[in-house]
């Protein structure tokens, strides 16, 4: 596991995602309305939609292509759809955001 610096907390807008590419992995990083940071794979299991561009509500993101609803904590696709994306641990230290990859 490696600790990857995403950037300052202030560079992330609340309820909007940002794509971070680490090597081959595309990761979507989200700042929730209460400033917690979540990170999941940036590829919707349905049609590979970029989840970073989706609508964020609470602890979920809705894929911009076909509205798949995905839990930002565990990457689980919500019913009635199915699937799962990888989720990543995140750390905020001294206003800097990191993800564990």
């Amino acid at each position: 596991m490696e600790k990857i610096l995403v950037g300052q907390l202030a560079s992330l807008a609340p309820r909007m995602g940002k794509e971070v590419i680490v090597g081959e992995q595309k990761i979507a990083v989200f700042r929730l309305s209460d400033d917690r940071i979540k990170a999941i794979e940036n590829v919707c299991p349905h049609k590979q939609g970029p989840l970073a561009e989706g609508t964020v509500s609470g602890e979920y993101v809705f894929c911009p292509l076909h509205d798949y609803k995905i839990n930002l904590n565990d990457g689980q696709v919500q019913e009635p759809d199915e699937g799962c994306v990888r989720s990543y641990e995140t750390i905020v230290e001294a206003d800097l955001v990191y993800i564990m990859v």
Partner: protein, 800 residues
């Protein structure tokens, strides 16, 4: 090692059987499907809608290729099975593949029956069975004028209507005295004919085709009575024949169809048959409901579930031609022991006939009003005694009839006849899975997914299930609230709610941050209500509007620079070309509204491209005033009466970047030839010698609506003012995501007309529009190019 199951035939019956098997035991078989056509599984019933241009081919695909992948089904497509060896349990395909099986399902369907007359194989003679047939017909309609459809049955009439809709001169030739003679009695058949004649179809009844004329291509038909008719194409629609060629090469017993027992077994071990190719108890079915009933039985058999034997099906029919509502089910011949009750309403032009044997309904024909079809079908199917019904009743009071009250229906009442889904199944699905829309119900239960006629009843069941005791339609704008648009907007004003957080809190939304359905809507309502106080919420806007570029299916974006009125110049073209080359833009295309689009742009390139283009954004991505399409008009065209380009540019300039409940498209044509197709624009102008006709509420798109003539005015200024008034009125009263056609229908055309044509109200609306949009109409691309913070937050991608 899983058992190998091979399905021959990639159509409705076979694939449905596979779905049923996967439902019961997804891991039981290693499945291979062999298909003849080049498409994945599609809904053949909907071909008429494709021909009538109500649906597209992609909309009738029921199981896309991903479905096969997800379920690990091997699909051998566009490669029909040509040989079968039941002794060695192998099947060979046309390309030479050999596949072995443990269990085999034959679902080869049927083919259009082609009359064995001279000339039947001439080019221009087609059947109507497949997507390719349908596309051939659509293509022919482009090239030729006259069409003859042989066969006045269900499919023939739907084909004829489709060709008529494509602008052809269509004659239906029918052998019998009246149309659809197996499903309708004479009276209903004649009513149908009269209605279709009103729509423009021509009929030649009691005509037997003797010969198809033509040497290199069809030119006409000769009938047995010596008469002839000229035509450019002939559609044969006189019936279908089971496709049994493959089975006939083996020892499988074939009669009219492949003979099966009550468990869909053929006489050969481990070989089964379902659908139109199968013959059960002497019957071959050509309708969808029996296929699905058979599929269920076979799925049970193949997964070792106990099952009731298949005992044949009671079929029903309805016609997919608008303006001709008919329904027919069961036995509709008055033979010995069968009597009928008939009611004809000459005022509303409706007709009902119920066929009764020993106090039980055995058949029904409805014409003009088919809302009770389902109810009769259920009485029929359940062999209910009709002693308790009033056989004939006239003029009962409104509301007296409880028959369509779904709350009183028993659970085993069938709602979707095609798929055999009853009320209980739908209720369970709604309750267990929290379904809130008809589409959801279809997704989970398949009810409504075939011919679609039962969707309104599904809506009633849904309303009943969600509304508890009171039967009322679900009213909320989304699953987060029960409040309607009007209730929300009223509360926004009454409580002076100026942010979406307040709306969600004060109006008790179940989800405090909403969903992709309500968030953009609330943001829009707030913008309209409090243009100064409410700060537009980027995080509530859909990605296209947030980034000012359309997201494409692969996650890249499109850039469409502003070209007002569709007009451009060499400098713009050079710039666009330069940028496209520099940023490796994979596709440059002229859009549907006369702009040049750059497609496949990477997100982080967007601001750079905008900066280099030095052009404005076209707003081609938003629920907003899109663009104004124009013809070349009086500038160059010899017919043009007005300066359509000039007016288009003025309209675009005046109203660009204004948000509306849904996209708002305009067009200005300079003469009644309407090259711009102003009749399907939200706001369409047709220049005439003495001024401008204004049409409103025309929508292309998912539901095509023709625009209605609002008025004719003399000056460009009046056009511009009426447009602004309409925009603001639509902004103030529209439901988010409601286009202008349904908006006008909901408001009432007369009301909209009164408001827009009243000079005082028009001025008020224009003033309100100007106030609301002041300071909100900058070019969004400039803002991004100039604002480093926005670029950083929205357009950069981190790379490590």
């Amino acid at each position: 090692m899983k058992e190998k199951l091979v399905l021959i035939g990639n159509g409705m019956a076979g694939v449905r059987t596979i779905e049923e098997i996967l439902d019961r035991d997804p891991n039981r078989y290693q499945i291979t499907i062999i298909g003849e056509e080049k498409y994945p599984n599609y809904n053949r019933i909907m071909l008429s809608n494709v021909l009538q241009k109500k649906m597209t081919v992609s909309e009738i695909i029921t199981n896309p290729l991903e479905w096969y992948e997800e379920n690990q089904i091997e699909l051998i497509n566009h490669d029909p099975a040509v040989k079968m060896d039941p002794n060695n349990k192998t099947i060979s395909t046309s390309s030479g593949k050999e596949i072995s099986y443990d269990k085999c399902i034959l679902a080869t369907g049927s083919r259009a029956f082609i009359l064995p007359v001279e000339g039947a194989h001439l080019p221009g003679v087609v059947g109507f069975r497949t997507i390719d047939d349908t596309e051939n017909m659509l293509e022919a309609a482009q090239k030729y004028q006259r069409a003859v459809v042989i066969g006045g049955g269900l499919l023939g009439l739907e084909a004829a209507k489709g060709l008529l809709d494509q602008g052809m001169d269509v004659t239906v030739v029918h052998l019998e005295k009246w149309l659809m003679e197996t499903q309708l009695d004479e009276k209903a058949g004649r009513m149908l004919q009269a209605d279709l004649e009103k729509q423009g179809l021509k009929f030649l009844m009691e005509k037997a085709t003797q010969k198809i004329l033509g040497e290199t291509r069809v030119t006409g038909l000769a009938f047995s009575d010596g008469t002839t008719i000229e035509t450019d194409i002939v559609v044969m629609s006189i019936g279908i024949r089971s496709e049994t060629t493959l089975a006939r090469t083996t020892t499988i017993e074939v009669n009219r169809g492949i003979v099966v027992d009550d468990f869909m077994k053929t006489n050969v071990p481990d070989v089964f048959a379902v659908g139109e190719c199968a013959e059960h108890n002497g019957n071959v079915y050509g309708l969808v409901a029996p296929l699905f009933e058979q599929g269920k039985v076979l799925a049970d058999v193949l997964t070792d579930k106990e099952t009731k034997p298949y005992q044949g099906s009671t079929t029903f029919t309805s016609l997919k031609v608008s303006g001709c509502d008919l329904y027919s089910a069961g036995n509709i011949r008055e033979t010995e022991g069968i009597n009928s009750i008939e009611a004809f309403d000459g005022i509303n032009y409706t007709y009902k006939k119920i066929f009764v044997r020993e106090n039980q309904v055995v058949g029904v024909v409805l014409y003009g009003d088919t809302s009770e079809g389902n109810r009769y079908y259920n009485i029929l199917r359940k062999n209910e005694s009709i002693e308790e019904y009033t056989p004939v009743s006239l003029l009962h009071m409104v509301g007296e009839e409880a028959s369509t009250d779904v709350s009183e229906w028993p659970d085993d009442e069938v709602i979707c006849g095609c798929n055999g889904i009853d009320k209980g199944t739908i209720m369970t699905a709604i309750n267990e899975k929290d379904l809130t829309s008809v589409a959801d119900v279809t997704k989970h239960t398949k009810a409504g997914g075939s011919c679609g006629k039962c969707k309104s009843v599904i809506g009633d069941v849904l309303a009943y299930a969600l509304g508890g005791e009171v039967v009322s339609a679900p009213t909320g704008i989304c699953a987060c609230t029960d409040l309607t648009r009007d209730q929300i907007v009223t509360q926004i004003y009454a409580k002076k709610l100026t942010s979406s957080t307040e709306v969600y809190r004060e109006l008790n939304f179940s989800n405090p941050e909403g969903c992709p359905k309500c968030r953009p809507a609330i943001n829009f309502y707030l913008n309209v209500a409090w243009p100064k106080e409410h700060e537009d919420e980027k995080e509530s806007r859909y990605v296209n509007e947030r980034l000012y570029a359309n997201i494409q299916n692969d996650g890249t974006f499109s850039v469409i620079p502003r070209m007002r009125g569709g007009k451009t110049n060499p400098q713009q073209l050079l710039l666009i070309a330069k940028v496209a080359e520099k940023y490796d833009v994979p596709m440059v295309k002229v859009t549907g509204s006369q702009r040049i689009g750059l497609y496949g742009v990477k997100k982080d390139d967007l601001p750079k491209i905008w900066a280099e283009l030095e052009m404005k954004s076209a707003g081609a991505y938003a629920k907003a005033v899109r663009s104004v399409k124009t013809c070349v008009g009086a500038n160059f065209c010899r017919f043009g009466t007005q300066d359509s380009m000039g007016l288009g540019i003025k309209l675009e300039q005046r109203y660009e970047f204004i948000d509306t409940p849904h996209k708002f498209k305009m067009g200005v044509s300079a003469c009644p030839r309407s090259c711009v197709e102003s009749g399907v624009k939200d706001f369409g102008i047709i220049g005439v010698d003495n001024g401008f006709q204004i049409y409103v509420g025309g929508n292309g798109g998912t539901e095509v609506k023709e625009a209605v003539l609002l008025t004719t005015v003399e000056t460009e200024q009046e056009v511009i003012d009426i447009c602004g008034a309409m925009l603001q009125y639509y902004r103030e009263t529209g439901i988010y995501a409601e286009r202008t056609a349904p908006w006008i229908e909901r408001m009432g055309f007369e009301l909209v007309k009164d408001v827009l044509l009243d000079p005082e109200k028009r001025q008020e609306l224009l003033a309100a529009l100007d106030t609301a949009v002041t300071g909100r109409r900058g070019n969004p691309w400039d803002e991004v190019v100039e604002d480093a913070q926005t670029r950083q937050e929205l357009y950069t991608v981190g790379r490590v």
